[in-house]
């Protein structure tokens, strides 16, 4: 039996076995280590016969290579592609808010006249309440005094009404530097016949 296998190993090295026989031999060599040693020995003899130089090969050399290959980790996932995370809606909202603030801040920086303005009571009163509500619902909490938009908007009739109420309520229109004097004239009308 061994003689027959040794013969086939020799034929294998001389490339004389057909495909099926070579495959059968390799399967047997995988399960029987002495056949691998025989193949290595025959290979060395053949190399020595065919050339003048003989290099003694450590019998365990190929085994060590095989073992090293076996121990290489197997990457089931592609190492080139990073896992794609889907950003949460909160992160998207935050990013959008930061972008808006950056744009507004840049606009303010570019316009010094606007930069120093803060909205007064009167200006706030003249903003449509719907606009104020939107400002309140903004994810970026801003104190009412730091409202960036100081552009005058067309006041609604009710807006002027609240404005008049504010001035009739207390005297802060005088002490807190409300810049829009027009509503004050209504205060005058309020206290005159």
């Amino acid at each position: 039996m061994n003689e027959e296998l040794n013969q086939k190993i020799s034929q294998f090295l001389d490339n004389e076995l057909d495909h099926d026989e070579a495959l059968s031999l390799l399967q047997k060599m995988q399960s029987r280590s002495e056949l691998i040693n025989t193949k290595n020995r025959y290979e060395a003899i053949s190399h020595a016969i065919k050339s003048d130089v003989f290099l003694a090969v450590d019998p365990a050399f190929s085994a060590k290579i095989s073992e090293a290959i076996q121990q290489e980790p197997t990457y089931l996932l592609s190492r080139n592609k990073k896992p794609v995370r889907r950003p949460s809606p909160k992160l998207l909202a935050l990013a959008a808010s930061v972008a808006v603030v950056a744009v507004l801040a840049t606009q303010n920086m570019n316009n010094p006249a606007e930069r120093v303005k803060t909205s007064s009571i009167l200006q706030l009163a003249q903003r449509p309440i719907a606009e104020q509500q939107i400002a309140k619902q903004s994810p970026i909490k801003q104190p009412s005094q730091s409202v960036v938009n100081t552009h005058k908007t067309e006041p609604y009739p009710l807006n002027a009404r609240i404005n008049d109420y504010l001035q009739a309520h207390d005297n802060s229109v005088y002490t807190h530097g409300e810049v829009n004097a027009e509503p004050m004239t209504r205060v005058t009308a309020y206290s005159q016949e």
Partner: protein
């Protein structure tokens, strides 16, 4: 040696405690009553001649002004000069407030019988506030390089804001006033950066304020009885009392508006009532929900053919409570 060191550190510890105790109690007499200090302050504000630079801070806006208080033969006059634009001069003679806008030479005259000072109004009867405020001396600090007593006016409920007043120790003039919201954040402040007492200060005649556009003559605000109002308030937080009621045109129209002003001594709330305006857009004002303009909270609601608005420098819960309690008066009865 160890015993000596122990004794040294013990003495050091006790002496530091003694210093702290001196800071907190010895310089403030134990019998110093916060209300007494405020009474003295009210008297000083009325009778002394003084001037200084005062900064008003509200809604994120800083407004520095020159302040003058003059008294001559019992007649008081308060005057403010703005240091920043819009330049204006404001004079209070009793209940009449005149404001000259210098750039436009425009004079505006207002009648405000319910206010006495641009700085702070202290109620005449502080004992009446015992049920709603604790008024105590809580410390001493320097303001404008002047030693001052710190008076805390702490509400006993959440329907009003806390205040602190820094009262100069020698002449009992107010140097600083702070208003705190329910989160104990300062929402309004006035502070003197310098204050001087004067033997005399001249009274300014408003006629000489050189207005190109003088206003029409001012007539006193017709104060009426609140029982003439078409509404009653069923929910009123403790301590709030009527200051005045009037029915006058407020807007640039002949439309009559009922205005009821109430105060608990420090905080004030106004209730306005006018006919429902078909052209108005009440939904824009979020009727039924409290809105804020700076430190003022207000809420609007419709009742029958009338629109009501409650506003004041009080917490949102307070204006909502008052608004919820508005009822139309049954005039037949």
């Amino acid at each position: 040696m160890t015993a000596v060191l122990k004794f040294f550190f013990l003495a050091l510890f006790l002496s530091s405690g003694a210093v702290n105790a001196e800071d907190s109690s010895l310089t403030i007499p134990h019998n110093t009553n916060g209300k007494d200090v405020l009474i003295k302050m009210t008297q000083a504000m009325k009778t002394l001649n003084y001037q200084g630079t005062v900064a008003f801070l509200k809604n994120g806006r800083l407004e520095p002004m020159k302040y003058f208080h003059a008294v001559e033969k019992g007649v008081e006059q308060e005057r403010l000069l703005s240091l920043n634009s819009p330049l204006r001069e404001i004079v209070r003679d009793a209940d009449r407030v005149s404001c000259l806008f210098k750039a436009r030479h425009q004079l505006i005259v207002d009648h405000r019988p319910f206010e006495r000072s641009f700085l702070i109004d202290i109620p005449a009867n502080l004992d009446a506030l015992d049920a709603i405020y604790n008024i105590t001396v809580v410390g001493e600090e320097d303001v404008a390089m002047l030693p001052a007593l710190v008076i805390a006016i702490q509400p006993k409920d959440n329907f009003r804001y806390a205040r602190k007043i820094w009262v100069e120790k020698q002449h009992f003039l107010p140097l600083k006033v702070l208003v705190y919201n329910l989160a104990n954040e300062a929402i309004e402040q006035l502070v003197f950066t310098e204050l001087q007492l004067k033997e005399t200060l001249p009274l300014v005649d408003v006629k000489f304020l050189n207005a190109v556009n003088p206003p029409p003559p001012v007539h006193p605000l017709p104060i009426q009885k609140s029982d003439q109002a078409n509404f009653v308030l069923a929910n009123l937080p403790q301590g709030f009392q009527e200051l005045f009621f009037t029915r006058k045109p407020i807007h640039n129209s002949d439309e009559q508006v009922d205005h009821l002003l109430m105060s608990d001594g420090f905080a004030s709330v106004s209730v306005y009532m006018e006919n429902k305006n078909a052209a108005s857009q009440p939904e824009l004002y979020g009727q039924g929900s409290v809105q804020s303009i700076g430190t003022v909270n207000f809420i609007s609601r419709t009742l029958g053919d009338f629109e009501f608005t409650v506003m004041g420098e009080v917490p949102a819960e307070t204006v909502k409570l008052i608004a919820d309690g508005i009822k139309l008066r049954d005039l037949k009865n």
